[in-house]
Symmetry: C2
Subunit: 328 residues, 2 copies
């Protein structure tokens, strides 16, 4: 039931995922009646047994922590519970981000050795690769140990999901030198430097898009602001090009060409490609999608979740936290 | 002598500024011999009396604080001293940013009531206006009082220089609600809310380019990362369009059109337009330029410095800090 276009986009995305891999067992968690109504209206055929009824819905503007308490039968809370009860292997939702985080953390629990779960944002790089930024907003006022754990979780994720052999880890700061940064950076630097991770030192704001590191760690306050700023760049570009187009026919034609070129060359910036952001560190697979997720985004979230399950990521996270933790 | 193309670009920019307003009294601070050599080589005619000799040069990779101590006759240190001695009214430099900040702060001193100087970054907005972000990297690990002072200095700057009647101030955070943020945000929120400033509450990363606030305040760690990330977006775009152009003749033509459209519609993103970032809170006018400043950027730095002087900004900052400080 989560997201701005629920349940329709969620249903369509799930169906597309099954079409791509019919070994996926889908459970649609949500209001049975509303789902059936949508299926009828859109003339979609679907086995009713796939629906797991949840009578409540957490709205996008509900306060996360209080909503998961006051709406115990919401699709988000039920999803987290089904993970906990091992009735499903992974949970994806384009619903209220805070609520998915809170429900996942409180109900699924944390992986042993993880102090705080983290969400990762995927930025495209000029080399056509990706830079994963942890934490993109799961928590703020982090301690050095938290950033260190993000680096460990991110390393495993980049290794297993992106197939990067020895992912490089950068520490986001205001200068490359070890002496540049704030108190958090200084202490985190020492933890990373003394670990077995592939730590390349401090990276700056410009180094994310230029692909200097596979993984960049920072406090969730900074990561969240970066993520939202980054998303707004595309909106800004669109507005500017529209303004340009409004200044005459020749401009309109040139703007059309530009939009085509940008669409192609900035395809990597399309969030739908990644589907959503994984919440790492919780004891179960949980992926959080954009509120305005399209069926394509939902499909990719589901396929990503399946991959994380097949590759046994939760166990690998636990092993890594134990292994790297000992290496400090 | 500062900047990657010194002294040539600095000389050319200064001459362009005089051309635009011959009432400006220019002093070229730097190595007399090198300046004369450049003038001869480029066949530039210039009154030698404009040169104020400074025998040393702080390099771009010199450590700021130690450089201003070990190079007391560098153009940056001499510039700050000339302000202190009231022999010049404003100082502009595209040199080592940290050194200009350190020299300005230590030699010119701070305005009464200002705890920490701040540099502002100018972001374009989709409405064709600007959003000034303070602090863009003068200092990190700020206290609420520092952010509050940035808001006061920024308000005066936006009022006087951009002619905005009642500049709106946003507090950068991870959500709009008063309850969203980190410890620094929570305390700063209260200071701003209880002041006479036009405080509009928290703003998010996406609100900078969409122009929600005229001024956005944040810790210099976050501001610096945002500024550098923002600058890297243009580089990223250029690389991506170049890659696209390399895929055949038709693509090359389309890419050319795109570059033209972007150049026009993203003109507001051109740092040369603003020239440099003003260092606010020091007891003198000090503007820091991009290391790769063009003559146009230098010219605009000088014109901006003149404007700040003519509008008596230092005195207005001092009065505002006193007035708003009392209003908390």
């Amino acid at each position: 039931m989560g997201g701005d276009y629920a349940p329709l986009n969620n249903i369509l995305g799930a169906l597309d995922a099954i079409k791509e891999d019919n070994s996926i067992d889908i459970t649609l968690i949500g209001n049975r009646e509303e789902i059936l109504k949508t299926l009828a209206k859109e003339k979609i055929e679907l086995d009713e047994n796939l629906i797991h009824h949840a009578s409540q819905t957490i709205e996008m503007d509900d306060s996360p922590v209080s909503a998961i308490k006051s709406k115990p039968d919401s699709s988000i809370v039920v999803g987290a519970k089904l993970i906990k009860e091992k009735k499903i292997d992974a949970f994806v939702s384009p619903g209220n981000t805070g609520a998915v985080m809170a429900a996942s953390t409180l109900i699924m629990g944390r992986i042993k050795g993880v102090s705080r779960p983290t969400i990762g944002a995927t930025f495209p790089t000029s080399e056509g690769k990706f830079c994963l930024v942890f934490d993109a907003g799961a928590s703020v006022d982090s301690k050095p140990q938290h950033l260190f754990e993000y680096a460990v979780l991110g390393t495993i994720f980049a290794k297993e999901i992106y197939g990067i052999k020895n992912p490089s880890v950068g520490l986001l700061s205001v200068g490359e030198e070890e002496t540049k940064g704030n108190e958090l950076v200084f202490s985190t630097y020492q933890l990373l430097k003394n670990s077995n991770l592939n730590f390349i030192g401090n990276v700056e704001g410009r180094d994310i898009l230029n692909g200097k590191a596979d993984i960049v760690v920072c406090d969730g306050f900074v990561g969240n602001i970066l993520l939202k700023f980054g998303e707004s760049v595309l909106t800004f570009l669109r507005t500017k090009i529209k303004d340009y187009a409004n200044e005459g026919l020749l401009n309109k034609i040139k703007a059309l060409v530009t939009k085509g070129v940008l669409k192609k060359s900035l395809a990597d910036m399309d969030y739908q490609k990644y589907g959503g952001v994984p919440l790492l560190g919780v004891n179960g697979i949980s992926i959080i999608g954009h509120g305005s997720s399209t069926p394509l985004a939902i499909k990719n979230m589901i396929l990503r979740a399946r991959e994380m399950h097949q590759k046994n990521l939760i166990q690998k996270f636990e092993e890594a936290i134990k292994e790297y933790g000992n290496s400090i």
